[in-house]
Every structure is written in C-alpha cells, then in structure tokens.
Subunit: 309 residues, 4 copies
C-alpha cells in the first residue's frame, strides 16, 4: 500500500516537473515547430531534426490508472524527453485533432514521425494514411512504437498482417542487443531490462527485417524481434516494441534513449536526385545510341529465334 | 517485308499448335484444375502445383498487332508452356470474368498465382486485392510479371510506389544471373538475351530484395533489378521484369523456363503451425512460471528505478 | 537413482538398435557412398543426396559419460537417423582418419557436409579447410552444428570471430520458429523445446543472417539466433545451435528432423554456368560493339573533364 | 519512506555526476595524426575521423604512364582529396614500409582504412591481414577499392573467392544509384558516368550485399554490383569498384565524393558494450534463477522423452 502511494507521488512529481519544462502536449493544436524548440542546448550548432509524435491519446483520458502514469499522455512523456535532445524540434499530434494533427503542412515540415496507437487504429482515416505513406516514400522517417505494430500505416508499409502473440502479465523483459554496429543501439549495454512489460511473442508477421537490432527474452518463455529496421522508398522505418500504456516504460531512460537514437537514424540523409519514387517516368531519349531497328509497330528483329516450338 | 510476313506466319503457326495442344484459354471460365492437367508426363509421381495465371487481357483484344503476337492472350501463351511442366495444374483468369476469375474458391485451390496487368490496374477491385493479399500471407505464392510491378497487389505487398523509369524502343536487354545458387536461375546460362524489350530502368522503388537474382543491361544505357524475391507472411513472391505486350517475350523459352522455376520456388513448403499470421493471438498461459508480482492494475514492482527525473 | 539406471538402459538399448540398423560409424574408413545407401525406401525414385558427417570424435572416446550418450559417437547418432531419410547416402568422417576423412575424392562426391567439432578445432589442418571452402564455393552444402560455430571452416566462411556467450547448466531451451516459409522449419511446431542444453547467448558474432529461422529462449535469461542461413559462392550454409556432447540432443527427433531438412535445403539446385566463382575471368571480346576510342596506353578520351582542380 | 528518500538521493547524485562528466567533449583538438589535418574547414567543430589509405604503390613506380596519371601514387591522389574533408585526419601506408605501414599503433589509431591493391596481393603478410581483420571486427571501418576486391583482407572478411569477370578496354561505365536513402549515395545524381574504366562484370562472387548501392552498366554489355556494404563484427565495410590504375578515376570528383561518404559511413558509432566479439565468453551466473535440476554429470532430467526409437 505504501508502495502504491509512493508510486503515485512519483508520477505526480514527474508530471509537475514536466509541466514546468513546458510539456503542454495533449490535445493542443500542433504549433509551429520553432515555438517548442529549446535553442539553449549548447553553443555548437546541431543538425535540426523536426520530430512529430503521434499518439491516439485514448487510454490516458479514459483510464485513471493509465492517466496517473502518463498525466500528459504517452506523447507528452516522450516529447518531454525528446525536447531535451540537441537539435530536436518537437511537436505532438493526436487522433482528435483535425486531420489527426497530421496536415499536409505538418507532415511536410516533419523529418521523423513517431507513432503510438492501440485502441483506435481503425479510426485513423485512410486519406491520412495515404498522406503519411507518401511522405515516408519521399523521405520522412517513421518510428513505430509498441502496439503501433498493428496501425494502418505500419501494415501498409510492411505489406503483411503484422500480427503477433501477446499476454498482459507484467512480465520481465530483457532486450538483447544483437546488432552492435548500429547507431540505434549506441550507448546501451548488452541488454535493456524492463521489469514489467506486456509480452509480445513470435511469430511476428513482418517482412524479414533489413537490420535486426534487439531480440527480447520474456519471463513467460517467449522471444520477440523487438527492434528492427526497414526502408520504403526514401523513408527509413524503425520499430521498437516496448511500451504498453499500463507500464511506465516511456519514462524508462534507456527506452527513451533508443527512441531518440531511432529518430536520429531515421532522418533522411540520402540521394535527392534519384527518380522512380512515386511514379513511372518515361525516359524518351536513350543515354546510348541504339542499334538500327527494323522494329516498328509490327516489326520484330528476329522473332523466329525465340518462339516456342 | 519478307520478315514481317514470316513473323505473322510464325505467330499463326504457333497459335495453331497451341490450340492443338488444348490451349483454350482466353475469356473462358476457370475450370476445375483437374481438367487441364496433363497426367501423361512420366510415370514418376510429381508434386502437384496448382497455378492460376491472371491477365487483364485488354491489349490483345483491342490491338491487332498485340493480338497477332498473343492470339490466345498473354495468359494463353504462358499457360500453353506451363501445362507441359510436370505436376503443374494450370488455370487462367481475366479481368472481365466475375470477380476477375479470382473467387475465394479459385484462390483457395491455387498454390501459385501469376499476374500480368498494365492498362487496367485501377479496374481491379479492392476487395479482390484484399482477398489475394490474405491468401499470399497464408502461403499462396505470387509471380508478378513485367508491368504487373504497378499492380495494386504488388504495391500492396511491397508497401512502396513500385515506380521505375521506362522507354519503349525495342531495345536489346541482357539479364545477368547474379545469384547462382537459387533454384529460379537453374538451367539458365550466365545471362538471357532478349532482342527487343521495353526498357525498365532504375531507380525501381521496391524494398531491398531479399534475393536479387537478375540484373538487366539495356542497350540504351540503363540497368534494372529484373528478377527478385521477397516474402510476406507465409507467401513467397517473385518479380520478373521481361514481357511487354508488343514483343513475343512470353514465347521465349528461357523466359518461360525462369517463370516455371519461379512457380516451383513460390509454392509453400514451410511451417504450417506458426501463429501470428493474420491476427493478434492472446496467449493466456505463460510457458514458464512467472515470478510473484505485486503488479495488479495500479501496482508496479519498482517504478522509481526507471522514471524520468 | 532409478532415473539414472533407466537412462543408461535407454542409451544401451538405443545403441543396440543403432547397431542392428547397420550404424557402424565411428573410426571406420569412409566407404563408397553406395554401400550404406538404403535403397529400400519406397518405390518412388528420390533425389539422391550424398551426405558426409564430420565429427572430431574426441569427447565420446575420452569421457565415459559422453560415450554412454553417444556410444557410436555423435556422428554415429546423426548417421543412424539420416540413413533412414529417403534418398540420403550417408558417410562419416572423423579427425583421426587420414586427411580427417575428407579427401578430395570424398568431398567431390559429397553434396552436403555436416560438421561437429569442439575440443580440437585447431587440430583440423589448414589445407583441409582450404579444400572444404573451395568445395563450398563450388556448390557443396554445409550444415554446422552447435560448437562447430567456432570451427575453422565456419569462421573462414563467415569472416567473423563467431564468438558467443555460453554457460553449461543443463538449462531449458525453447527454439522459436521465426521463419514460417522456410523448408528447414517444415514439419515443426511453433517451437522446439529442449529440456537440457548448454546456453549459447548473444551477441553471436556472425554476419547478419540472410534468413533467420530460429531464435532460442533460455531459462537463465538469454536469447540466441539458433538457426540461420547464408550463402558463399554457390554453396549454402545452415547453422543450427542445439547439441552439446553431454546432452542427448542428437537423439531428439525434432532436432534431427530440422537437420535433415537442412541437408535437403543445402543441396545445390542452382545455376551451373555462372562464371566468377573462384577466379578472375578475362572476357576479351565485348558482347556489344564498343565506341571508337582514342584511348590507347597513354591517351585519355577527355581527362580534363574529371580531374581535380 | 526510506525508499523515497533513497530515490531522491539517487536522483541528486546522478545529476551531480552528469554535470561533472558532462559538457567537456566537443571542441578539443585531436592529437596524434594531426599533421595532415586541415583545421581550416569552417568554424563548426567536426567529428574527427582518422583515415589511413593503403596502396601497394607498384604500378605508379614501375609504369611511366600510370605515374603520369598518379604522380603521388593512387594513395596520394586520394589523400589530397580526403585531407580537405572536414574532420578527416589522413595518413597513408604502402606495401614497402615496415609492416606495410600498418603497425598495431597505426591500426589502433585508425577509424577507417582504405585499401587499394592489384599486382601484389600475395605480398601482403598474413600476420598483417590477421591484424587488420581483428581491428575490423573490433570496429575499424574498411573501404575497399577496385582491384582490392581480390585482396587477402577482403577475401578473408567475405569468405568467398571474390572473383569476377573483367576486360580492359577503356569502356564507358555508368554507375546507377539503386539505394536512394543511403548516406554513401548522398550528393550524387541518379548515376555517375565514367568515360573510361576497366570492365568488371558479373558474376561477382561476394556474399549477397547487405545494402546494394550502385549497379554499373558497361558499354560492352555487362553489368556489375559496383557499390555494396557489409558488416563483420563491429566493423563496417564498403566496396566501390571504379578505379583502375591506367585511368584517372581517382581524380574524378564524384568518385572521390562517394569514397568520402563511404569513409564517414564506415566509422563506428555503435554499441561498445556488446560481448561475443572475438571470443567465447563464459557467463557463469545466470540472469534468472534456474529450475531445480537433477542433472549433474551423468544425470538427465527426462531423457526418455526425446530419444530416437
């Protein structure tokens, strides 16, 4: 009982501190990114990364217990950490906002979108999903968290069911780093231990990850590919599984560090001039002179050579 | 002029032979697979593979030149080859048939679906695309040909735009085998040469192939990843680029051989008992005994350890 | 005590059965493959796969406990299972034989080589390792078991240290199938449970697997990528981790089934005509006519265009 | 209550430690190889990357024509470009130097090693190759150029023959970017055109690249996977094919830009605390309490369950 008291006290204090830090997230309208940018972080100019954190923001409003853990919403908890990352300009967006807070303008000024959803995946409008997908293919990074595995946008980009096995039993999870050279695992030890998490287990129906970063061990006997990356078009995608709404996982400093690493990794630094992204481009003039053809409409060079007998 | 005459003569003879062989494809209703199965191929029992060849079947009916090359339709040309492959049971399906010839019944009795489309990708109904995707995730193989790269089903499974660069100039194409250990490249030399093909060039907006099998060289100066594989759910996907409707590429014996190899490869031979395909499965009972928890709704084991300050 | 008795009784009976089955493996000279081929398996002609099982064969001779589990040696236990697989022609080879039983003749008539070693990796001669590597690049399959991860041949083919973390504490291991479409996981349930195994844990220093098939959960809190595939040249490689000498894991029917699947998968069925395997081949004549060059030794076409300023 | 006190105390101490070890990084001058470091590039502090360029340096000394193109040697041409890259500290090493200029000290202070060799691959001592491999597995990046594909170190890390097809005919080469999101292709157009290069053609006997960045088109009809990446241990490897000694390719600004991108990419930014790199580590104490075992030497828990019948 004392423990319970202590826990809520901590949460309360944490919330207070977060508010003091300016974490006025929640249902607010997305602001111009500059407003929430902490320019005070060091004199050395940092690469600017414009991060938008989407959260459906339902459990925190409807469930008292969840609200106590995330008084500012899951997006608020994440934002309060990200705002302190050098160069990060952070906005939030939630389901109830017009266009879910993900207008053309917001997405066009977003380098990396973070996504948390669970209870209302089907409430996300298809035209917004189309818009997000288009932006990802055009180079916007995407960091998908926990139950976001079953979001429309993640399924759309993966092409698979993104199903998995699960159990909610406050189990101990240990996320092992299996990829030591990846920037996303930088600054973490051989594993991250989370005292209580929802179990997510295999078989996780995703395309084979391009890079598998973390494998989770669960107390109840399962394993899970808990951190993985893919590319779609020019966009980089990072999925990271810890983070159920009934556990304070988005206050865990190691989890947040991995997510910040993920944001930095997901920002586009590639080739702006490639073609073939989003359309079929006719190239009328060949780069090399073609051989003489007697092949006009109806004329083949030597069809007899390769006909079926 | 002589050449032209010879060409049409060849086409005609070919058509005649195909009819004689029983190639009554075209707009016909999908038949029970058994009917078209050539059981005469050898005494040794073969693995049965039920192949359904989808073709939108538009150019061949509307364009005289195309019709001369493919008097039975592109699906008919492919079917006439596939029917002679040991163990293959071949059906065709076209856009105008009810449900595009791809009813639940047909798909449920299809091991591998081949796909050709070009002019009418948007005419393929979304609910049929949903159905195909579901079957692929459940283990049906998919072989996508040429302009099928831009079909709804391929884009759905890839998650990308599947755009590319193209030019129609009857160019020489040379498909180099870059994967020597793959069953799909079996029986082919170091490369396949096609005298006249539409140019398909990079950047081809696909997820990085799991296995890159062929790279094409084009006379006009481009290259293309022309043969590649992916997996989605339990399904295996092979894309192979040669095959424009105005060239007799689906009469080319090497191209057809690769496609037949692709069908054999795409048939599912994996694990039937994995879970996590198509849904989220709750696993109520852990496989291992969990440690004692004081974590019920509202109680955390030791939250102070991992809270943000 | 009763259990112990029962165990040794089982081992004894097993040995007897194996002898009855003709499992005269061990130190014997490698015989012509035909001798040990069970031709009786069904009337349907099977694809023939010539398997050679290498075992250093040290623990079983020096340690009484190990010998009781593997009276015919680990290679003998595996051979007794493989000999019953349709089409398999099985030989064994051990360290003490001349050339470790892996003469040019043996390797040239081997489709798939299985490898178990532990105590004497450094006793395997470099020239034999060279020979095996050459054969793998030329298409011989390789199935590496358990402590074989640290063998010269596996390290040679991987290019990495192949190090890992380990603990010998008879732990429960659960190998989860994460790749449902792969022939190697065929016929297995969602996981294999092994009551007692040596723990092998991450980080396993291997190149990112091309296909990750199994992930292991260990009672003591670790995870491991326990089944994975790679290709080198024309050769296919499968690593499977269960199998310590002090546990009867090579009598476990599920483990043996996976190994047999691995052998079938590792047999080469690819392209015999690709070049660029094992050498640098000069291609004197271009396939296409080159443009006129004024580039002879000492003459550049237009060097000024791309010089550094 | 005590717990609470302890909690706040921890927070306080943590903060103090953070401040103490906090912001002193960044602006300090790097020492050691600074000699060739151009400190003039901009006021913004750059990440320091210590690059060592190895060249066998034979053709340039023995062949007058080559010497005219590369009067400072190929390494000199590359170094003169790299020295102007912000943050790069550049050294060179050649075959004739003691230990080929690649002493323990040099390698230990090298972040990324570049490699060019052709005529004298076999003159590179095996112990130096061992040393380089060890450093790569420990996190040193490696950029292999052109004929370096056949070097001992590249073959060692790949595990394959690294053979290919080639022709020296001053052909036009066009390197197409197939990976638009990779930092190595940043700042380049859809392709790089090289007026005269040695043809390198498939099949290139390398393990399937983790990331395929460039595909080359050659005038004479071949294609080649000309830019690709792999990881080995903690080390990152980039192979880039243009660059024959008889062409001024290492004066081509686009080629040099790609190489500089490659160096930046290859520098390690990953996880320093993973184990299993370079050795087999015994983990005596399990992280979780093990179940009671009656399995001591000679005792199995329940062997009867999984014995072969």
């Amino acid at each position: 009982m004392k423990m319970l008291l202590f826990f809520f006290l901590s949460i309360f204090l944490m919330g207070a501190v977060m508010m003091a830090c300016g974490g006025k997230s929640g249902n607010q309208q997305s602001k111009a990114p500059e407003e929430s940018h902490s320019a005070t972080h060091g004199e050395t100019p940092q690469e600017v990364i414009r991060v938008t954190i989407f959260n459906e923001y339902i459990h925190e409003r409807e469930n008292e217990f969840v609200r106590k853990i995330y008084p500012q919403g899951i997006h608020g908890a994440i934002a309060s950490y990200m705002k302190n990352e050098p160069g990060f300009i952070v906005r939030t967006a939630t389901l109830d906002e017009p266009e879910h807070g993900l207008t053309e303008e917001v997405l066009n000024s977003t380098d990396v979108l973070m996504w948390w959803g669970h209870a209302a995946h089907d409430k996300v409008k298809d035209e917004i999903v189309d818009r997000i997908q288009k932006r990802v293919l055009d180079g916007m990074g995407l960091v998908v968290m926990h139950s976001g595995h079953y979001s429309k946008i993640f399924k759309r980009l993966m092409g698979t069911s993104c199903g998995l096995c699960w159990r909610e039993a406050a189990e101990r999870e240990r996320l092992w780093v299996v990829n030591p050279y990846h920037p996303i695992t930088q600054g973490i030890g051989p594993y991250i231990e989370i005292p209580n998490d929802e179990m997510y287990g295999e078989r996780f129906d995703i395309p084979e990850p391009e890079e598998l970063l973390f494998i989770s061990w669960f107390e109840g006997g399962e394993v899970f590919r808990s951190g993985a990356t893919w590319h779609r078009g020019k966009g980089k995608i990072f999925y990271f599984s810890p983070g159920h709404e009934t556990y304070p996982i988005f206050h865990n400093m190691e989890v947040l560090k991995v997510l910040a690493n993920g944001v930095r990794w997901a920002k586009f630094h590639g080739n702006d001039q490639t073609t073939g992204i989003g359309g079929c481009y006719q190239v009328k003039e060949p780069l090399e002179k073609l051989s003489e053809k007697d092949y006009k409409t109806g004329v083949l060079e030597h069809p007899e050579e390769f006909m079926q007998k």
